[in-house]
Every structure is written in structure tokens, then in C-alpha cells.
């Protein structure tokens, strides 16, 4: 019996990506069933699937002590490849096929404003929280502020201005919380903030900025909104990493004296 198990495990790790597609496919199918049967379609199937995914990531992290969620379990390593940057970006780009170009152009200005607003607001809030928790130096405040922007902006900013590694770790944690909250929470807040048309999706993407969070959250709300939100969100990390160690750091240092 153990030999058979070994054989199964061997095949599963050798065809890692295929295993990932099979397991994720089953998860998504189960989620759609749950959505239809238990919530009568009120909670989108993909929202359930994403929450199951996050839960699996937590379990995987606890079991293996690794940093890549469920993908740290050897036979499931393919999930890391499937959900990694390469395929994710490629799939997001493919969603752009069929966007309404007129809507995109009309929402362009609002999208750009939302990008800047999102970066500054997130940095401000992160810095304020850092201050409240006793990180009163400008370097730590800016780094944690960057984490409140995205989990990439935080460490990029921190490395640029010489933050300590525990502060950088904290900023990454803040960014991860944000990303996962957006992934799981978007379908619930969408009706409250009018997130049901291309323009508000673009603004949402610009304000939130976490590409994975926005892409996942919008997919769970209404798939057709994904390209609009992802379009602005993808510029956010770049803008944050550009403004963080420069303009925002100088501003926070000026305020803190």
C-alpha cells in the first residue's frame, strides 16, 4: 500500500503543474457547487475558492514552516508555479481582450488620480499606525507605510532608506494582510461602494494597488471587472516604489523633524 502511495506521490510531483491544475480545478468546482447549493449563488463561487486557497496557504505554512503556502508541500509544488507571477500576469493580460476602450479612456483621469491618492493614503495610514506602535523614526514609519501600500513597496522602500530587517518584515506582513483582505473582502464591500462598473473598478484598482488582491477580489465579485481594476493596480507598486523612498520619505522626515 505504501508503495502505491509513493508511486502516486512520485507521479504527482513529476507532473507538478498538471497536479496543480487538477487540484485547483476540483477546488473551484467544489466551490461553485457550494456557492449554488448553500448560498444560492449569492456568494460567488470564485470567492469561496479564493478563501479556500488562503486557508490552504495558512495550513501549508503552519505544516511546513515555509513561505509559499501550500506550495511548500512537495507534491503540491506545482501550485506555486501555477499561481506564480508568470502565469498570473499572463492570465491577467489575457483578460484585457474585450475591454471597452471607450470606458477605459473616459476613466483614465480618475484612474490616475486614484493611483496617487491610493499611494499617499496608504503610506500615511501605515506611517500613523507605525507611530502609534512606537516606531517614531522616519525610516521605520516610511517603511511600514510602504507595507500598507503593497508587500513589495514596503521592502523596496525599506531597503532603499536603510530600515532594519524586523521593520521590513513587519511591512511585508502589513502588505500581505492588505492583499489577502482585498482578495477575500472585495465581494462583500462591492455593493456598498458602487463597485459594479468599469470606472469604479479602475478606481478601486488604483486605490488598493495590490495586483494580486485586486485581481482576486474583482474575480470574486464580477469577472468582467478584472481587466479594469488590474490595469490601474499594476502601476501602483511601481508608483509606490518610486515615491516611497523619495518624496514620501522626505515629507515624513520633515514632519518628524
Amino acid at each position: 500500500m505504501t508503495e502505491v502511495m509513493d508511486l502516486v506521490a512520485d507521479v504527482m510531483s513529476r507532473y507538478g503543474l498538471i497536479t496543480a491544475f487538477a487540484i485547483v480545478g476540483i477546488t473551484v468546482w467544489v466551490s461553485y457547487q457550494l456557492s449554488a447549493r448553500l448560498t444560492k449563488g449569492k456568494l460567488h463561487g470564485s470567492a469561496i475558492a479564493i478563501m479556500l486557497g488562503l486557508l490552504a496557504a495558512y495550513v501549508g505554512g503552519v505544516v511546513t514552516g515555509g513561505a509559499r503556502g501550500i506550495a511548500d508541500i512537495e507534491v503540491l509544488a506545482g501550485i506555486g508555479l501555477m499561481g506564480g507571477g508568470m502565469l498570473r500576469d499572463f492570465a491577467i493580460i489575457a483578460t484585457a481582450f474585450g475591454v471597452n476602450t471607450r470606458e477605459l479612456a473616459r476613466a483614465g483621469a480618475a484612474g490616475v488620480i486614484s493611483l496617487f491618492a491610493g499611494v499617499f493614503v496608504s503610506f500615511g495610514i501605515g506611517a500613523a499606525v507605525a507611530y502609534a506602535f512606537g516606531y517614531t523614526d522616519a525610516v521605520s514609519m516610511t517603511t511600514i507605510g510602504g507595507g500598507a501600500a503593497t508587500y513589495i513597496v514596503g521592502p523596496v522602500t525599506g531597503a532603499a532608506i536603510g530600515a532594519s530587517s524586523d521593520v521590513i518584515a513587519l511591512s511585508i506582513a502589513a502588505g500581505l494582510i492588505k492583499s489577502m483582505l482585498v482578495m477575500a473582502g472585495t465581494p462583500f464591500v462591492a455593493p456598498l461602494i458602487g463597485l459594479n462598473n468599469p470606472r469604479s473598478a479602475m478606481i478601486y484598482g488604483g486605490l488598493m494597488g495590490t495586483t494580486s488582491g485586486v485581481a482576486g477580489g474583482l474575480a470574486a465579485t464580477d469577472e468582467r471587472l478584472v481587466p479594469y481594476g488590474a490595469m490601474t493596480a499594476t502601476f501602483y507598486t511601481g508608483l509606490g516604489a518610486l515615491l516611497g523612498p523619495s518624496v514620501i520619505f522626505v515629507a515624513i522626515r520633515a514632519i518628524m523633524g
Binding site: 473551484v28 463561487g45 483578460t95 481582450f97 493614503v121 500598507a148
Partner: protein, 131 residues
Amino acid sequence: MLVGAFIGELIGLLIGIDANVGGVGISMLLLIAVAAKGQASGRLRPISQSGIIFWSGIYIPVVVAMAASQNAVAAVRGGTAAVLAGVLAVAVSCALVPVLSRIGGEPPPPLEPVGGQPPPPVPDTDVEQSA
């Protein structure tokens, strides 16, 4: 996509950070431009279209896999400060969505509701045979 990613890396290099700046967004804009041109001139054959539609359909499973490979433990272990920073940033940004939506006139009407359940994802059928 490769062209967009390259442009993104180039911008990243120009402003001195090691990250892909807007590469995905630029790729999306390129695809939109190419698709619009291709459809207008009738050169985008149905088979290429179904290829692109396949990739955007596979998007949900990819996003689920992405969720499953997040560093969820690190996020939870970050402590109160990290949780508070993350949650507050999301809450305030959410509150700004309706405010900014008013820029540029009345917001467009919501998308029409989709009829019925979305089709089950493509991958599991052909995967089971090959696994």
C-alpha cells in the same frame, strides 16, 4: 506580454528599482490595441481569439492557486501593528472609491447581471485524462 514586461523592466531600471513597473498594464494596453486593429482588419482569426479567451478563462484557477501560495502565516504572525496597518489602509481606500467615482461626471451604469452560473472552469476535464 514579453514586450510589455520588457518595457516594464526598462522603466524599473530607469527609475532605479528592481521591479517590473506597470509591465502588465502596458502589455494589456498593447493587447487591446492589437486586438482592436486585428478585428477591424479581419486578420485576427477565430482560432487565435479562442486562444486568448482560453487564457482569460483559466484566470480564476490561476488566481486560486495564487491565493493558495501566499505567505499567510507570516501575515498573521506580523502582529497587531501589521494587521492594523493593512486593515486600515484597505478601509480608508474603500471609502474613497465612491468619492473618486464622481470625477468625470456621472458614473456609468452597472454592468448587466450575468444570466445563470458561470460555466465550470476549463482545466479539470482535460487534466484528469493526462494526470
